[in-house]
């Protein structure tokens, strides 16, 4: 589904991504993990063709992102870190606009809007202006926007930040429901969440991928010191302190 080769990204002289290569197969749920500023968002922005990579290639579903960006964008649903909402539109108008610009055929627009309203549990606010909604609702409208054109690939940048535990659970269930049909990439720094939904994790540290492993294998590798199975949190913290030492 996704193949990236040696992506690097410079912002001025700052190198945000260093030689990032990975492959993601169809139907996988992959979690991007990393500290703040590690390059997760930059990587996602490159995959969604919002930012061009400084070098390297990205192939999504057989198309090169540098050449066939438009066809690729039709296949991607993207939720940026802050949900991109037009505050003074109503939820329904906003979703209609999203459907229009994402090539949903005119005849299907209405049923697609109804579908996402239901899937994201935002039926009851569909006539409200977006600026009056609480953060959790805004986040769900953001997800609704991302899945309105039934994309093959869903990219979610911190989809659960700022939500209460119940909403958190709802969104996790939503992602699990989606899983059967499509590939999902999500980033978060709430590690327990990843443990529950992802199949595979990519841990990014200062622009480099330091772990690319299926979750099962990662968590089965016994911890040297204690000989018990570590949690993802322990693995994460260990990796980050380890490589700090390496740099010093």
């Amino acid at each position: 589904m996704i193949t990236t080769k040696n992506i690097t990204k410079y912002f001025g002289s700052f190198q945000a991504l260093k030689d990032v290569s990975f492959e993601i197969n169809k139907g996988e749920i992959v979690g991007f993990l990393g500290q703040n500023g590690a390059g997760k968002t930059t990587l996602m922005r490159i995959l969604t063709s919002y930012l061009p990579a400084s070098s390297g290639t990205v192939m999504i579903d057989g198309d090169d992102i540098a050449r066939n960006s438009l066809t690729i964008r039709q296949k991607i649903g993207y939720l940026p870190e802050t949900p991109p909402l037009y505050e003074n539109m109503t939820v329904k108008d906003y979703l209609k606009f999203a459907a229009e610009i994402k090539d949903v055929p005119l005849k299907q627009q209405r049923c697609q809007i109804d579908r996402v309203l239901e899937e994201c549990h935002i039926q009851n606010v569909k006539h409200n202006t977006i600026e009056t909604l609480s953060k959790g609702y805004k986040q769900r409208v953001g997800i609704a926007q991302a899945i309105i054109h039934e994309p093959k690939l869903l990219i979610l940048d911190e989809p659960t930040s700022g939500l209460d535990p119940v909403q958190n659970l709802q969104i996790r269930n939503l992602i699990k429901d989606i899983e059967e049909k499509r590939t999902v990439i999500l980033s978060t720094h709430i590690l327990s969440e990843i443990e529950q939904i992802a199949h595979r994790v990519l841990i990014i540290k200062s622009g480099r991928i330091i772990v690319d492993e299926s979750l099962e294998i990662l968590l089965k590798t016994p911890d040297d010191a204690q000989g018990t199975q570590p949690t993802l949190e322990e693995v994460f913290i260990k990796l980050h302190s380890e490589s700090n030492e390496n740099y010093e």
């Binding site: 438009l70 539109m89 108008d93």
Partner: protein, 236 residues
């Protein structure tokens, strides 16, 4: 093409869903009304020629207020990321946004048709001059809008966007005042650059190819530059 209309519709929707659109329309027409009364009261002439001149001058101040948010707001709220990752060409985004602004501006202009009704009722104005006069100020406004949209694509700050378009509009509008200090080709260039020299003809009922080309070219150049600045993302 459908997507261009979808974006234009969204632009208008965001205007009219908030009170901003109505406030702008009412205040603008109020300003125009005051000038209309003053001019008619003073000139006692059944012609809208001077009214058009004042409207043109007011556009220099009004248009940046309409256009400053076009791209700047999308950038500061992050919705630009939504537009740029949707399957839309940059051209469609720019054209859609321009069309939206143009429709709003046309609604604003059309509210002044009532002036023509008033002079028609009390006298016998020259219909042709009024018509060409309207075409002139509409083209002028359309040109100013494209300049405003261009400056809006350069920055995420609405105030900076408005101030930049004020500078450009003032330079273009008043460049004719500088002609006295230049000779030869430089003088001609500066004279032709000024919107003053082009709007004159429309106001007296003459449509020349040169004037129409001036405005259409200006609009085209600004739209192309806007598209380039969106594409290059200079603002990142």
């Amino acid at each position: 093409m459908n997507k261009v209309f979808a974006i234009a519709k969204k632009e208008l929707l965001t205007y009219f869903k908030s009170p901003i659109a109505y406030i702008i329309l009412i205040l603008t027409i109020t300003i125009f009304n005051i000038f209309f009364f003053m001019i008619i009261d003073q000139n006692r002439e059944v012609s809208l020629k001077d009214v058009f001149q004042v409207m043109e001058f007011m556009f220099v101040f009004l248009v940046p207020l309409l256009t400053m948010r076009i791209f700047s707001e999308e950038k500061s709220t992050g919705t630009i990321e939504f537009l740029m990752t949707a399957p839309l060409t940059n051209t469609a985004v720019v054209l859609g946004k321009y069309l939206g602004a143009l429709i709003f501006f046309s609604i604003m202009i059309s509210m002044t048709f009532v002036y023509y009704g008033i002079v028609e009722y009390f006298g016998n104005p020259d219909r042709m001059t009024t018509l060409t006069g309207y075409l002139g100020i509409w083209l002028e406004g359309a040109f100013f809008l494209s300049i405003g949209m261009m400056t809006s694509s350069w920055t995420r700050n609405q105030i900076v966007s408005a101030m930049t378009s004020y500078v450009i509009l003032f330079l273009i509008y008043f460049s004719i005042s500088f002609t006295a200090y230049f000779r030869g080709p430089a003088e001609i260039v500066i004279r032709q650059l000024s919107t003053w020299s082009h709007l004159e003809n429309f106001a007296v009922g003459i449509i020349t190819v040169g004037d129409v080309v001036y405005y259409l070219n200006g609009i085209l150049i600004c739209i192309v530059l806007t598209r380039l600045s969106i594409e290059n993302r200079l603002w990142r």
